[in-house]
């Protein structure tokens, strides 16, 4: 048990950065146009898919303001997991044990990352998974989960597909891939390095801009409308 863990056990106080994070969304207004919100598009590389035992090895994020990607406002780092890297994960993200040997542990970058996300909505492709991992560590080290509302581009992509097909039978076409790279290819987006946290974050950001402008034939203006569009889809199933 590390020093910080020990600290956590006796001091359940919430870290100030997380307090701040919470305050941003206490009185959250969904009615504003999308261009007035800031988004952080986030992707993480993991040692595996189980939040209970696997860990984050790399974080990548980029900001969107005024519905434009601000490429220089990004967050990118490797972190050293507590347990050694499993071989099979290296095969996916190509991050080798040597690369993360000198990387800091997650607790050292976490505060900066939360600060980077503060005030922004978090966008991710299958964002629930990334959030499960990040919340696990914020709970452990900062005293609670993130309060940022999240938007899942995978869900938006499903929605868009349903909209463009409008064909009842195609909904049962199981060959459709919602994999990030496949979607980028399908929509003709500029393509990025796969399985690199920042590359995937950029890819997701492009996908997000694309979908937001294409959904409802460009008719989505406020955040609420985006949420409602997603909800109506959920009611169908």
């Amino acid at each position: 048990m590390g020093v910080l863990d020990f600290f956590r056990l006796f001091n359940r106080r919430v870290h100030p950065v997380l307090e701040e994070n919470r305050r941003y969304f206490e009185d959250f207004d969904q009615e504003k146009p999308l261009s007035e919100y800031e988004f952080v598009v986030y992707d993480s590389e993991l040692t595996g898919l189980n939040p209970r035992k696997d860990e984050i090895v790399s974080l990548g994020a980029v900001r969107i303001k005024d519905l434009k990607i601000i490429p220089q406002e990004n967050f990118y780092c490797f972190v050293k997991p507590r347990r050694p890297l499993p071989k099979d994960s290296t095969l996916i993200h190509r991050i080798t044990p040597e690369q993360i040997e000198n990387a800091p542990p997650i607790e050292e970058v976490l505060e900066d990352f939360v600060r980077f996300c503060n005030g922004c909505l978090i966008v991710g492709h299958y964002v629930d998974l990334d959030m499960a991992f990040i919340n696990k560590v914020t709970k452990r080290y900062l005293g609670g989960p993130l309060s940022n509302p999240c938007i899942d581009t995978l869900r938006l992509a499903q929605l868009y597909k349903e909209e463009t097909w409008g064909n009842y039978y195609d909904q049962f076409n199981y060959n459709v891939s919602f994999n990030l790279t496949d979607l980028a290819k399908e929509y003709g987006l500029p393509e990025f390095k796969e399985h690199d946290a920042l590359g995937d974050a950029f890819q997701t950001a492009y996908l997000f801009l694309y979908l937001v402008r294409k959904l409802k034939k460009g008719g989505i203006t406020t955040l609420k409308e985006l949420y409602l569009a997603g909800r109506s889809w959920r009611w169908l199933f």
Partner: protein, 643 residues
């Protein structure tokens, strides 16, 4: 990607922008530091297809837009709402530079024609770059002037006055050097007058340059000198030409325009001028050559061809065809009409030539037909197309007649080819010409050729023979050619294996797809980085039309007309027909303009286009044209599924 110091809050350089800019003119001129500054001040935006990015006279331009992916069209709307398409910009191009530099609102409408991602560079930063980097600035200035000039030229062309004045225009645009028909003919000063007259008669020319013992040109002797100084004065023809020559010879520089030459002739009251290029006499032009220019209309040339009474008189006529083509292109004629015009003129030259030969040699022992192959057969000739021709004659009744016919036509073929070469049609490198005994045969032999190709197809042979399948009767007893065409049309449509070989060939070459930046171009050699528009672009259309025509029993040989008949017969859809014809004609047009340009620069025309010489609009259209090739190929694949 590089990790930065921890104090930089885990932020890295946006390499997506830097990498892209390094490949993009003129940003590739910038050093690392500047690039970094650009990257730090760019945002990325997305515009779905059909978004208006700029509205003419309305939009305040805050950014330079660099297109990362997608494309935009730029157009102008005048007071009456008339829309003029100005340009198309694709990946790596920019929009907004001119309004930023001039500090005005958007000067044109810009609308995305594809889903488009742009890098948006703050205008202040762009202006700083312009200020600090002369090379960078130059690019934009140059591109403005070029675009301006191009537009101006187009407008000029639109508002040009009636074609009547064209003859005069040529006087100002055609260089004297362009009229020179070949090496000057000379005679030594000490040679006799009689020899001079003989030489002039032999070459069918009206003047000879007179040289001294060193070979330098010291004078000129013309047929007028023979009349006035020899015959009229009763001078002996044994005297040396030096006694009657005009010396020194009047010269004119080859880069002067014809108008200058005409002025010189008029002031000096002479009809011949020696053309000088870098201090060397390269030929002689006559007042007649210039007067002919006055009438560069197809009709004028046509009249000139049919009125020729000697074979030699035909020699210079084909060289005037390019002049006419230029007029036609400028008047906006469709390429297929231009090729047909060229074909008609060439057909008339051929007709005249062969008629005059028959007058000279007497009637042939049996009726014959002159066959035209390849592009001549398809009525798709451009400039200086190689000869592809053959003779087919009626089967003689007996062996005596047979021998007689063989002799007559082999002689006739040989001479016709020689005359045609002198007319400026280069011989066929593959020796597919009427002078080759193999291609100068009676009907029965020709029929057996085609039977062989169609019924027992060897892949190699079939491919070498494709140009034969485009034959067309050109002169003589056309019914012989028609009969042969009927025979092969009937035969071919039922021969799946033969058609399969042709189909395979259609699929063999990949269309030169398709990116703005990366056309498939020749990788090395003389034509490096150029696109062979004939081989890569046009041939697939020709092959497709031929295959389909043979399959569906269509006798026509012209590609566009073949496609038209295929559409009428409902073998291809209306959409495909329109698309194919447009794609094909656009490429023909590009090729024409390219070849014309080369000829006007004194080069031999070829088919190698440099994609960087094309505008974005042309590139985009070409890209679409190439896209049609893939469609044609998939149709063939569906039709011949066993491949």
């Amino acid at each position: 990607m590089t990790r930065q110091d921890k104090k930089d809050v885990h932020s890295v350089t946006p390499e997506v922008i830097i990498d892209f800019l390094k490949k993009t003119i003129p940003f590739n001129e910038l050093d690392e530091e500047c690039l970094m500054k650009v990257a730090q001040n760019c945002t990325i935006d997305f515009f779905p297809k059909g978004t208006m990015i700029f509205k003419q006279d309305e939009t305040e331009v805050e950014y330079l837009y660099i297109i990362q992916k997608g494309g935009v069209k730029i157009y102008l709307k005048d007071e009456e709402g008339m829309v003029t398409l100005k340009d198309f910009r694709g990946e790596g191009s920019y929009i907004g530079a001119l309004p930023i530099i001039q500090g005005t609102k958007a000067n044109l409408n810009v609308e995305t024609v594809e889903d488009t991602f742009c890098f948006l560079l703050k205008k202040e930063i762009f202006l700083e770059l312009i200020e600090d980097n002369p090379k960078f600035a130059q690019y934009y200035l140059k591109s403005f002037t070029e675009k301006f000039l191009r537009t101006a030229y187009q407008e000029l062309r639109q508002h040009r006055v009636a074609p009547r004045t064209e003859g005069t225009l040529y006087m100002f645009s055609v260089h004297v050097g362009d009229l020179v028909k070949g090496e000057p003919k000379t005679i030594s000063a000490t040679d006799s007058i009689q020899l001079a007259a003989q030489k002039m008669a032999e070459y069918h020319i009206g003047s000879l340059l007179v040289t001294d013992e060193k070979g330098d040109v010291i004078g000129i002797v013309t047929d007028k000198d023979l009349r006035t100084k020899v015959v009229a004065q009763g001078r002996s023809v044994a005297e040396p030409v030096a006694n009657i020559m005009a010396s020194p010879v009047e010269t004119i520089s080859s880069h002067k325009v014809c108008f200058d030459a005409l002025l010189t002739m008029m002031t000096k009251q002479i009809h011949h001028l020696a053309v000088e290029k870098q201090g060397k006499i390269v030929g002689v032009i006559t007042s007649h050559d210039i007067m002919v220019l006055q009438g560069s209309s197809p009709l004028y040339l046509f009249r000139e061809i049919v009125s020729q009474r000697t074979i030699e008189g035909l020699y210079p006529l084909s060289k005037k065809v390019p002049l006419i083509v230029r007029t036609l292109i400028e008047e906006g004629a469709k390429p297929n009409n231009i090729t047909r015009m060229i074909t008609i003129l060439n057909d008339h030259i051929l007709d005249r030539l062969l008629s005059l030969m028959i007058d000279k040699y007497g009637a042939p022992p049996v009726p014959f037909c002159w066959l035209l192959m390849g592009s001549e057969g398809r009525k798709e000739q451009t400039f200086r197309t190689d000869q592809d021709n053959a003779i087919i004659y009626q089967d003689p009744e007996n062996s005596r007649k047979k021998e007689e016919a063989r002799e007559y036509f082999s002689q006739f073929g040989k001479e016709a080819i020689e005359h045609l070469v002198k007319c400026g049609y280069p011989p066929c490198p593959g020796n597919i010409m009427a002078s080759n005994p193999k291609w100068c045969q009676p009907y029965s032999v020709w029929q057996s050729y085609f039977d062989e190709w169609i019924l027992k197809p060897e892949p190699e042979e079939v491919l070498n023979a494709t140009i034969f399948f485009d034959f067309r009767p050109g002169f003589g007893s056309l019914d012989l050619g028609i009969k042969l065409r009927d025979h092969l049309t009937d035969l071919a449509k039922r021969q799946e294996i033969f058609l399969l070989h042709l189909a395979k060939d259609c699929l063999a070459s990949r269309p030169p797809l398709t990116f703005f930046r990366n056309f498939i171009v020749e990788k090395d050699g003389e034509h490096k980085n150029r696109l062979d528009i004939k081989k890569r672009g046009l041939v697939p259309f020709v092959d497709f039309a031929r295959l389909m025509a043979l399959k569906f029993g269509i006798k026509e040989t012209n590609t566009v007309e073949r496609l038209g008949l295929l559409y009428e017969g409902e073998h291809i859809s209306k959409e495909l027909y329109t698309e194919t014809v447009e794609a094909y004609e656009f490429q023909m047009q590009i090729r024409f303009v390219h070849q014309l340009e080369m000829m006007e620069n004194g080069q031999q025309p070829d088919n190698y286009i440099n994609p960087s010489d094309l505008t974005d609009l042309e590139k985009q259209t070409l890209k679409e044209a190439f896209g049609v090739i893939s469609k044609l190929q998939s149709i063939i694949r569906d039709m011949f599924p066993m491949m």
